[in-house]
Symmetry: C2
């Protein structure tokens, strides 16, 4: 019998929170363009080579076992790469909407707890000669930020490196030394989560309470209204994703006297307002967003200090200018209250679901009484173009978690001069995420009109 | 609010039995060859046309709701065909083993209880220009036999009919009248299940008891030994399928003085013996199979009288001749004891899982104490070639259920002069179903050698 390693109490929480309608894994979708000289054999050869990586290293070879009512990690002595690496294809014509439908379906399926809790799908046949990778990993193994970083580590900045070792097959020592495609130090992250989550939950409770107590003007802003976003969820998901030019959003924010983040929130606010209006379900009071966000200057390198805001989305206001100003003021107001945090706390703060789950775990709040209506999470991503076995990464979209009471999650990450939005929702509760994407674009166009910058199309 | 229809106690049982490692749906895999003149547009056009069938009729539009702790069926007013009809493709080269891996993975996923409990996958890109259909439907909606009949009703005997209405979009009245692709009368079946299951369970208990009490010689045969087949199962599945010539198996059975069914059981016995030996896990005592089987003469038309046997597979015997004779004697011995049953009871008897589930429900037998080691189920299928929108049905394989305590299920159906075997197992508990297929062929070759008919290769 291999050694047993206890699952941390926090991660036990993620296992405990999981239900058939509420899988607790995070995912990412990569859209890739094979090299121009790729022959017919490029994909079959890539698949065959990847299949030969039959040996997995920690944490990819760790599975759960249950002893005396608690979960432990142990090595999977029967690791079977075919259960984890899953080649697929879209039928012709392989449109993006069909890729998104497939990802929605794959994301809705539970992972098998008898095996290491991750799967990686290589998807051939995306229109226009492209391929995609969809990966999922359980939140009890890594949080959302770490998962996106892992996906990055599965790639390289070298276009010419067409024979990358699959992530699971790289010995941890080589990953830690920063080898060819080095991964995050997962052991360290997992250990640190344990130490920091109680503080995160406490901080979040305090945030809500202090807003209520000390700022009478903001009381209404911190009482999230009832909304269709905050229903119980089905087991089905709808995922939509799109890239926007980072420059375009940043320019709009600056010209309106705010930040990139203010502009992102204003886009989301306009989109949610329009979307909920079309469903005749816009609350009279403003929606409240829970926003894990970087505190660093938008253009600075390094430093990952993050705070967790509750932002007033001002969705009750018709005038876009008033909406933008209210959002920007709400964010500035919040920022003043938050202390910066350690690297470790950042990992937890930015992890959308950990915060939501942690809050529910810590306070016993029922889904019917949500302290916020929607999570809008912005994850820093790679600035330079990445390559996956010679295929250029065109887009990289987070696929997050929805929960009972949180039927929509908006997560975005930056990549190569773009902001990549991933919307995930319960498909039964919330129709057409595609429409919400269009509404996001409308929201940006509205901001650009306000800013006098016109509607130059930077959408890609 | 649409009307509520109570879920029968039996079907509540299937919902109650379902766990994340034990999904309670049955499935079927169709292997199809498009018409020779099919253009590049054949699959895309078929997909588009099928997607336009956005309206579903009962039972395909019925979803579950829970009221006061019990389940009810109600119309899904938000029926979304995209959640149920799911086009996919295999990446090149699209080998059969990759199709089987995909089906294993699809079969392992739970259905969303917020939606009608069925999914149909059209799978393009099977090697050699073929396509496949994999369909799954919850056992609370129909049993395994009815599910296979439904799949038949999705097809036609007319090669030229390339625009079939998808099954879910055919009004029930037309299905009942025997329209172009008529389906089973599901409402009637569901109602009848309620009436007949208690009798089925009682009958099965009596079978076991009478064998123990009245036939001292058979006591050992009806005490299933402990075996690796009877472990708790993971959520992962391994599916394997293959066709054998009906004539070939029938000839071997006859020449050895037995029936087609005897020969099938002897093939399974030889295969299980070899398979378990290779794992050093063959019990000293003979394996016991639970065999729902037609009682009619092999060649007769009509009449669906079925009994449920516990058969001694004689896996402890090294000599193939002794093994065949013991199996044949065990089956004859059993047949003498069973009364024939009504059409309705047949539906339940043949339904492998219903019997297993019903037995567990009725007797409270724990998985650790199984009255049999494996289910071997033979479902009568269509005798004439069928077509699906012009594509010829080459093979039609049942994908059944495994349960805690029953980690392997062997179900076969006849089709067009063939017997189509579908093996489904927990992939964690039981390695390589492909090897078990090879062992089945070996078992048949052994019978043929005994029968002096040589090893003519009728395998396809």
């Amino acid at each position: 019998m291999p050694a047993l390693k206890p699952v941390t109490p926090i991660d036990q929480g993620f296992l405990w929170l999981e239900r058939r309608n509420q899988p607790m894994h995070v995912g990412g979708l990569l859209l890739l363009r094979p090299p121009a000289d790729a022959g017919d054999d490029y994909i079959p050869a890539l698949i065959e080579r990847t299949r030969r990586a039959t040996r997995a290293y920690p944490p990819f070879n760790q599975r759960l076992v249950r002893r005396l009512g608690a979960w432990f990690w142990t090595e999977d002595r029967a690791f079977d790469v075919e259960a984890h690496f899953r080649p697929l294809a879209l039928p012709r014509p392989g449109r993006i909407r069909e890729l998104l439908t497939l990802v929605s379906q794959l994301h809705a399926n539970l992972l098998d707890r008898a095996k290491p809790l991750w799967e990686l799908y290589l998807i051939d046949g995306v229109e226009d000669g492209r391929i995609a990778v969809y990966a999922k990993i359980h939140h009890a193994m890594v949080d959302g930020v770490a998962a996106m970083r892992l996906l990055q580590r599965a790639m390289t900045t070298e276009a010419g490196d067409t024979e990358l070792t699959p992530l699971w097959a790289i010995p941890p020592r080589r990953r830690q030394r920063g080898g060819r495609n080095p991964a995050l130090r997962l052991g360290q992250v997992a250990g640190a989560q344990l130490a920091s989550l109680p503080r995160v939950s406490m901080e979040l409770s305090r945030t809500v309470q202090s807003a209520w107590q000390r700022d009478p003007d903001f009381v209404s802003a911190f009482q999230a209204p009832r909304c269709i976003l905050n229903q119980r969820v089905s087991a089905s998901r709808r995922f939509a994703a799109q890239s926007w030019s980072l420059d375009r959003i940043r320019a709009a924010g600056r010209q309106l006297g705010g930040t990139l983040n203010d502009a992102v929130l204003a886009m989301c606010s306009a989109a949610l307002r329009r979307y909920l209006q079309s469903l005749d379900a816009l609350p009279d009071k403003p929606l409240i967003a829970m926003v894990p966000m970087s505190l660093r200057q938008d253009d600075s390198e390094g430093g990952n200090q993050v705070a967790l805001f509750l932002a007033n989305l001002a969705t009750h206001l018709d005038d876009p200018r008033s909406r933008f100003d209210t959002i920007a003021r709400s964010v500035r107001h919040s920022k003043a209250r938050y202390a910066t945090m350690s690297q470790t706390e950042i990992m937890n703060y930015v992890a959308t679901v950990m915060a939501v789950g942690g809050l529910n775990l810590a306070t016993g709040l029922m889904p019917g009484r949500q302290p916020f209506n929607v999570v809008i999470s912005n994850v820093p991503g790679p600035k330079q173009p990445l390559y996956f076995n010679g295929a250029r990464l065109e887009g990289m979209y987070p696929v997050s978690i929805v929960l009972d009471g949180q039927a929509l999650n908006i997560t975005l990450n930056s990549y190569d001069h773009k902001l990549e939005f991933g919307l995930i929702a319960c498909s039964r509760t919330l129709p057409s995420m595609q429409r919400l994407l269009d509404d996001l674009e409308q929201g940006l166009v509205e901001l650009e009109a306000l800013a006098g910058s016109g509607g130059a199309d930077g959408r890609s």
